[in-house]
Symmetry: C2
Subunit: 455 residues, 2 copies
């Protein structure tokens, strides 16, 4: 569906939520109802000035009227190496050329912000304190990095100390937002420059959530950050958060659970992890799902360095495999992020009809090998095939059935959850498949003026 | 901070994510770098036409450039009964006046879309098939409803059958999105018209998440809705979702967990719930947090009817209580939504300094009693006090310290999670409190051109 139609659906959704019929909304906006109906028909976009006026009248935001654009209507978007090269820009630090940046594929639908970065700064030793390296400030996005060639990765450790990891082709790392870091080429005889694929992306905090935090304001929003320094502290903070949200104090919680006051206090101080049975009792007393009180299984480090040679590798499928997979750096904090190296084992066209891959995550793919790879995929009952050359990159929408074929193909694949995976997906699933289509875009007003006695 | 400044921060964040220095961005946009720096200074908003141009050049959306507005800078926003009355609109169905709608308070920061609705349709019996009632189509938002006076609530049951609940003052209900429903006044001697407070709100699916689903497109997005019809089916669907996301088939999962192929198949068919130890083994094999594989503790009904007389009630605090709380309708599917009736027990001003309430949820408050209530609160080191008259309503931002005082005060309070509570809050907590302020609004570029060797 085109942007105008989706934008019209979205407008209807806003009016529904505000419980305004077109005549009510037109009166509020001081425009003829025919004009509003014209926008609702999807023939013409609602003008920016009218959006601004609406945001001044109703408790809505201008951004609510603008849709996420679909720049990938056939399910796959490709950026060729040649196009990437055109975006080349050299960034200096301390007056010296430090990085060459090139864009690779990004879509308005997915949250990837991936860059190809050549390390122009050359170091002659592996000291973490090398004078030539220039550190950044860290950034808001999560970063997965794939290394090609002799690259040193510098980062700030948990105790604020400088660290260096000596990386080579196939090695990878994950880095938490706001950790300062930098990269440099290790001096080598061949004069080869190091290269990284720096795949940054927003997860659950990006976009509108960050906007809400900003609107709430720094003083109040700071309280959202709970103490997750240990599993015990995380469990303690979550319990307190939910207890306070429920308007229940310790004596009342004791009455409801039978747990002693002193045990409850220990749990909320984070000196001891709640026993599974107690956790269940607490969730029941607070009338919430047990999941809400569970701390992360593991508090992982803010930087995870991953060496290719030690990685887990397996075939997919197990019988008559089409791919050899290698798991790259990831953190269990981001359960929906997965980084893989994918070696293509099949080349014959006769398997073209078997689209053996389909995942509910957004995918970024980069041809890190020396051979072209065919991607075959299907969207809206059309079959497509494209040849992906070395250094081409592509974005694949969630749930697109696809496969990769070709001799000696080697791909880097990063899968991320986007906005839907996780809690929103659970909410959608509880609403039920039957009604889910209406959740994607409202096509009807919330009632019919002619009345409806039969349902 | 004002909208322009926040908008400038947001612009800097977009450029950072795109790894564009101002000079790179200005060149892409074909404007002088001074002009761009002017927008980045927060002196002037970036014009709508330039935003459109940017969305045509970069893989970003126009909406990304517009911020969530803060229409509640002092932490509390009040709408007086008189202002509500001005928004009165009568909706006809089948040619007859059916409802009178009035807005109550809503904020650009919170997701509440609350309406005061008088039931103009009068029924003379409690048949679910009454000819006078006109059903709606259901709507995208979740709905909590508080009843005042003699109101019949009609809804479609799980099997598609029509149901009626006979409600009175203090009764309440929760209704899942898209369940068709309607309301009518029960005929009574006094000629009293029934009234409801229909508090609709988006949860995790609203806003940008719905936008992403819409951009992905109905065919692909439909796959996000998992089978959550039973706990077993939910566990099965989640396991399959994560297994496929990891690129692992059953034989490989057997190798990693030691669980038999036939048991794995049973788990994915949803014939049996995974044992806790097996769930742990599966999460470990998939290298994800155990929470991701846990089904909801309870699959609740789509409509929950709650009678006031049977409700749980307690004092807060337990010692020297300031409030009597009564829990109203809620579903454990929405762990961050809580509806309460709050009776104010303290009236003396000497307690004014004790702000005994502070919750990490957005709050909607309506004075359902016959007496004024004072709200005292603090934001940014300022103390405020306002008198809330009967039928006034107010929005309170998360984490605002506040209290209510006054004789015979009776308030309806609805607390909701908004965009941050839940997964985004966990993500923020894992980033750590130290860096969280930068997550609310980026104030610095991701690196300094002058270089930075010391960190």
């Amino acid at each position: 569906m085109n942007y105008k139609k989706r934008s019209a659906q979205n407008l209807l959704g806003i009016l529904n939520d505000l419980k305004r019929r077109p005549e009510d909304a037109a009166a509020d906006l001081k425009i003829p109802v025919d004009e509003l109906n014209y926008y609702l028909s999807g023939e013409k976009e609602i003008p920016a000035e009218l959006i601004r006026r609406a945001a001044g009248i109703w408790p809505v935001n201008e951004r609510d009227f603008y849709c996420v654009n679909d720049d990938c209507p056939i399910g796959v978007k490709i950026m060729r190496a040649k196009e990437s090269a055109k975006t080349s820009r050299v960034m200096k630090r301390a007056g010296q050329p430090y990085y060459e940046y090139r864009d690779t594929v990004a879509s308005t639908v997915g949250q990837f912000r991936p860059e190809w970065i050549k390390e122009l700064c050359i170091v002659d030793n592996n000291s973490a304190n090398h004078q030539a390296v220039q550190w950044n400030n860290g950034h808001f996005l999560h970063q997965f990095t794939y290394f090609i060639g002799p690259v040193n990765f510098y980062y700030k450790g948990e105790r604020g100390d400088k660290k260096v990891a000596v990386m080579n082709t196939g090695d990878s790392m994950y880095i938490t937002p706001f950790v300062p870091h930098t990269f440099a080429t290790r001096k080598n005889r061949a004069g080869e420059k190091g290269l990284i694929l720096a795949l940054t992306y927003g997860n659950k905090l990006a976009g509108e959530t960050q906007q809400e935090l900003s609107a709430i304001g720094p003083e109040l929003a700071a309280d959202y950050a709970l103490d997750f320094s240990t599993r015990e502290k995380a469990a303690a903070s979550l319990l307190r958060f939910h207890r306070e949200a429920a308007g229940i104090d310790h004596p009342e919680l004791t009455r409801r659970t039978g747990l002693s006051l002193s045990l409850l206090e220990k749990y909320e101080l984070g000196t001891v992890l709640p026993k599974p049975d107690d956790l269940e009792a607490l969730a029941e007393a607070l009338n919430i799902d047990r999941r809400e009180l569970l701390p992360p299984d593991d508090i992982q480090k803010k930087v995870l360095v991953n060496y290719y040679r030690t990685n887990r590798r397996w075939d997919f499928p197990s019988i008559d495999p089409a791919y050899k997979l290698v798991e790259l750096a990831r953190t269990s904090h981001l359960s929906h992020s997965r980084a893989l190296e994918l070696k293509v084992l099949k080349q014959s066209d006769k398997n073209r009809d078997i689209l053996d891959l389909k995942v509910g995550l957004h995918q970024y793919v980069y041809n890190v090998g020396n051979s072209p790879v065919n991607i075959n995929w299907r969207t809206d009952d059309h079959e497509y095939c494209e040849s992906i050359m070395p250094n081409d990159s592509m974005y694949v929408k969630p749930f697109v059935p696809h496969n990769f074929r070709g001799p000696d193909g080697k791909l880097l694949v990063l899968r991320i959850g986007g906005r839907v995976a996780g809690e929103p997906q659970r909410e959608l699933s509880l609403i039920g498949k039957q009604n889910s289509a209406r959740a994607f875009g409202e096509m009807i007003p919330w009632f019919n003026q002619e009345g409806r006695n039969k349902v």
